[in-house]
């Protein structure tokens, strides 16, 4: 009987083998089925092997392979935290593989997707398993690289190529930040093993620096503002099931890195570091969802919404840090569990939504929601699954998104126990911004679902759309069911997550399974409780009651007629509200401040038959405020220095001469 970690590594090895297989069979027509079938099977096996570790909460198993850094070897370790993230990865992987079985047949360049897909999965699994800095970073970058290759699958579109470029540079930036963090953690002696780092003492300033670097490194991968700019470019560029993996799973792996270092390796946190995480998290949440609202590309919208959720998760982790720093173990466990729960939930519904977007894309060839509409009639099943995803991500009961956000809010309500005034005052403000983000998320997904699936078709392709294949639907419905189950049975999920909190924080939330009626009670019943199951039962019961009474006692008659347009019935679908017009009120309220949104009306002079046009001008504050100047500076310097390529030999000699004289002068002064 091999140990749990060895089993996981065998799964990874099989995944890498699948990559080789994919290259070997790239000419074959059956390649798609073979590869996705294999990844589906492997993911499910890996999932089934890691869940026992999570539930049983057994001891961590370790393994050292004689690869990687020669004097260290590659350390792997499977503990509760790793098991949880492995579960997230492999669940997402399995769903994406299932979806890929159907969606992959639409792929125009399968040889650019199939080899990298299993490699990407393998990379994510390995990051979670790694137990020394070198292996961790190696796998981390390998994961980035594989996903980059997937982003570049449709490289002929200039936008995708740019997206891939920005992505890779940001990934590299993040890795370098992590590298520095690990350099600091390992010390000059090069103690790269996580066990060594865990045992070492870190001074407060060092710990602060490591945290900052982790925020840069893991944050850039996860999409923390202002390092998120690559995310809305890269995630949509990949094939949809890969987008789902990137958004739903890879960002979580980044968060895993953050948790592993900050909660596990760094030792007891400092409350001031929590402030930074809280501020960044809540700012990311609001900025992310506002950007999502302004977006009309469905996949980009989803990517921005990922940023929002990452913000929520980070805010929650910040709370956990704040409580942990003050020795409030129970509250810390609550916040931490809330973060983990949200991680799980987000991986469910974001994958589901990306699958839906992929279904729309493969059925209509469109990602721009302004050209869609009325798909609920033509893709009823897809639209139902997508609706479930929308409700879940909007944090509405009784679905899972609400359960985790509710826990976050409960954690925020523990803030009076914090001794620091700064935190006392700040945490409610964080709560306000999270509430704002949640409300805006609902608005955003009303828009996303409403414009895409409701109303009348805005283009011929939307008119001609059809339902997608069974595998895709099966993947979507599986996730929808998971969203629902996690929503009505949150207590069970919390109990599964508790060992992770116990292992990292030394505290856990109370056991929920024993509570009556399966409700969740974070602290005690008189303070707060929530029961998704009952809420669901109540709503169903009352709604059924209403339906019963009405159909029993009231009129059944239905007459179909044209929609009423106040006397101006306009048959063209263009008269409907568009996505841009839908968000106009919100754009006016928030956009003028955040995006410097301006509306210009171009009114043709009287007699001119051209239509009047309303133009909306928006600026991305992060890109224009941070990235454009940096890239401008780089190009400016590159231009300046480039003149050195065109000097004459005499000038080159002068350079040599000047260097010589300088060094001699230095020597004369120094020695």
């Amino acid at each position: 009987m091999t140990s749990a970690v060895a089993q996981q590594l065998w799964c990874v090895a099989t995944l890498l083998g699948t990559t080789v297989l994919a290259i070997a069979t790239s000419r074959s027509r059956r390649s798609t089925a073979i590869v996705y079938g294999a990844t589906l099977a492997i993911s499910l096996i890996a999932l089934s092997r890691c869940l026992p570790v999570l539930v049983a909460g057994g001891n961590a198993t370790e393994l050292v392979l004689p690869v990687g850094l020669p004097w260290l070897g590659a350390h792997f370790r499977l503990d509760a935290l790793a098991a949880f993230f492995l579960a997230v990865v492999n669940l997402g992987g399995a769903a994406a593989s299932l979806y890929g079985l159907g969606y992959g047949s639409h792929e125009t360049a399968p040889h650019r997707v199939l080899p990298f897909f299993p490699a990407f999965l393998a990379g994510m699994n390995l990051v979670v398993l790694a137990d020394d800095a070198f292996t961790f970073l190696l796998c981390w970058e390998f994961m980035s690289l594989a996903s980059w290759a997937l982003v570049m699958a449709h490289h002929r579109e200039a936008d995708n190529a740019r997206a891939g470029y920005v992505y890779l540079v940001m990934a590299s930036f993040g890795t370098l930040a992590l590298l520095l963090a690990f350099g600091l953690l390992s010390g000059a002696g090069g103690g790269y093993g996580f066990a060594t780092m865990r045992a070492a003492q870190h001074s407060p300033s060092e710990a602060g620096l490591v945290l900052a670097l982790m925020l840069l490194g893991a944050g850039s991968k996860a999409g923390l503002a202002p390092l998120h700019v690559w995310l809305p470019l890269a995630h949509p560029a990949a094939p949809s099931h890969v987008s789902a993996l990137m958004s739903g799973v890879m960002t979580k792996v980044a968060i895993y890195g953050f948790i592993r270092v900050v909660f596990d390796l760094l030792g007891p946190p400092n409350w001031s570091s929590a402030v930074v995480v809280l501020v960044l998290g809540s700012a990311t949440a609001v900025l992310g969802i506002l950007s999502a609202l302004m977006e009309k590309d469905l996949k980009r919208l989803l990517a921005y919404s990922t940023i929002e959720n990452i913000g929520v998760i980070f805010a929650s982790l910040g709370l956990a840090l704040a409580f942990q720093a003050n020795g409030l173990g129970l509250a810390a466990a609550l916040a931490f569990t809330a973060a983990l729960f949200h991680i799980l939930n987000h991986s469910f519904f974001k994958s589901l939504l990306f699958f839906g977007a992929g279904a729309v894309l493969s059925s209509t060839g469109q990602r721009n929601i302004e050209t869609l509409g009325g798909l609920i009639h033509r893709m009823p099943l897809t639209s139902f699954a997508f609706l479930v995803g929308c409700v879940a991500i909007s944090a509405l009961p009784p679905f899972n998104g609400f359960a985790s956000e509710w826990l976050v809010f409960q954690a925020i309500l523990q803030s009076p126990d914090l001794p620091q005034w700064g935190l006392k005052v700040m945490v409610p403000a964080v709560g306000a911004s999270l509430a704002l983000a949640a409300a805006l998320a609902a608005a955003c997904f009303v828009k996303a679902f409403g414009i895409t699936f409701l109303g009348r078709a805005r283009s011929p392709v939307a008119e001609a759309a059809g339902e997608v294949d069974r595998c895709s639907l099966a993947a979507m419905f599986a996730l929808a069911v998971l969203c629902f189950l996690a929503g009505i049975l949150p207590g069970l999920v919390i109990d599964v997550l508790s060992p992770v909190a116990q292992a990292l924080l030394g505290h856990r939330m109370p056991v929920q399974a024993s509570d009556p009626w399966l409700s969740i009670v974070p602290i005690e019943e008189s303070r707060s409780s929530y029961n998704g199951l009952l809420v669901f039962v109540f709503i169903t019961a009352t709604a059924s009651l209403a339906v019963y009474f009405i159909h029993r006692f009231a009129s059944h008659a239905i007459r179909r007629g044209p929609a009423w347009g106040c006397g101006f019935t306009d048959p063209t679908p263009a008269a409907q509200y568009s996505g841009v017009s839908f968000v106009q009120p919100i754009r006016r309220v928030f956009g003028t401040l955040v995006f410097q949104a301006r509306e210009h009306v171009e009114m043709p002079p009287p007699g001119d038959l051209r239509p009047a046009r309303l133009k909306v001008e928006m600026h991305d504050p992060v890109w224009e405020g941070l990235y454009a100047p940096v890239s401008g500076a780089v190009w400016f310097l590159a231009d300046r220095l480039n003149q050195l390529q065109f000097l004459t030999i005499r000038r080159y000699l002068s350079l040599v001469f000047a260097t010589l004289v300088t060094l001699l002068l230095v020597l004369a002064i120094w020695s």
Binding site: Q645, F646, T648, I649, R650, R651, L653, S654, V656, F657, L660, V661, L664, L665, L667, A668, S671
Partner: protein, 220 residues
């Protein structure tokens, strides 16, 4: 005798530096060549003197090479090139003479500062010699970077190399000196031939940067 030997070596090395200075303020090519020939002659004397006092007959070979090759053949060849290319009238300094001289002073001062730190364990003759050699090397480089013309740059390079020979011969018992001086002569011959063959490259310092752009495959 040791004192006299030292004084003469010192004198010769010192005059080499002086001649290097003379090169700095020549702004006509012919004059520069003549001064260089003088430079080579002084070097030959210095090397011969070292051969004598060190009792190292092989150094005479180096002295002869310096005399024949650098004081005669190369200047003559360069004369011909200048005539053929018709560039003898060019004023070819890139930096003003005054400034160059000042820089030269600075360089000599620098080399003195550096060399005088060398402790007395090294033999004083070598030490002084080396100080002058360093000055000559630096001045040679200075000539190279302040002249626009290929010919005068070759001259600068040769004077630099003279500094090396001075240092090498001053280092008592250094092996391979002759070989090195032969190798350098070949190198210089290559350069001269290069200048001669590729007339397009007659000027190191092309004003037209656009033309260079084109050559370097970096067209916009």
């Amino acid at each position: 005798m040791p004192n006299l030997a030292f004084d003469i070596a010192h004198l010769l090395a010192g005059s080499l530096v002086l001649v290097s200075f003379m090169m700095l303020y020549q702004d006509r090519l012919y004059a520069l060549l003549n001064v260089f020939a003088l430079h080579a002659v002084v070097l030959a004397c210095s090397v011969a003197w070292q051969a004598y006092i060190q009792n190292a007959p092989h150094l005479y070979v180096t002295a002869v090479i310096a005399l024949v090759f650098k004081a005669v053949i190369i200047p003559v060849a360069l004369h011909r090139i200048i005539k053929q290319l018709g560039i003898h009238r060019d004023i070819e300094t890139a930096v003003g003479i005054g400034l160059t001289m000042l820089a030269g002073m600075g360089l000599v001062a620098l080399s003195m500062v550096l060399m005088l730190r060398v402790t007395g364990t090294a033999d004083p003759l070598a030490r002084e010699d080396l100080a002058f050699a360093l000055s000559v090397v630096l001045l040679g480089l200075l000539v190279m970077v302040t002249r626009r013309n290929a010919v005068s740059q070759v001259v600068g390079f040769m004077s630099l190399e003279n500094g090396l020979v001075l240092a090498a011969t001053g280092a008592k018992g250094m092996p391979l000196v002759v070989e090195i001086s032969v190798a350098f002569s070949i190198l210089i011959a290559f350069i001269v031939i290069g200048v001669f063959l590729f007339r397009i490259r007659e000027r190191f310092d092309t004003v037209d940067v656009g033309a260079l752009d084109e050559f370097r495959g970096e067209r916009r």
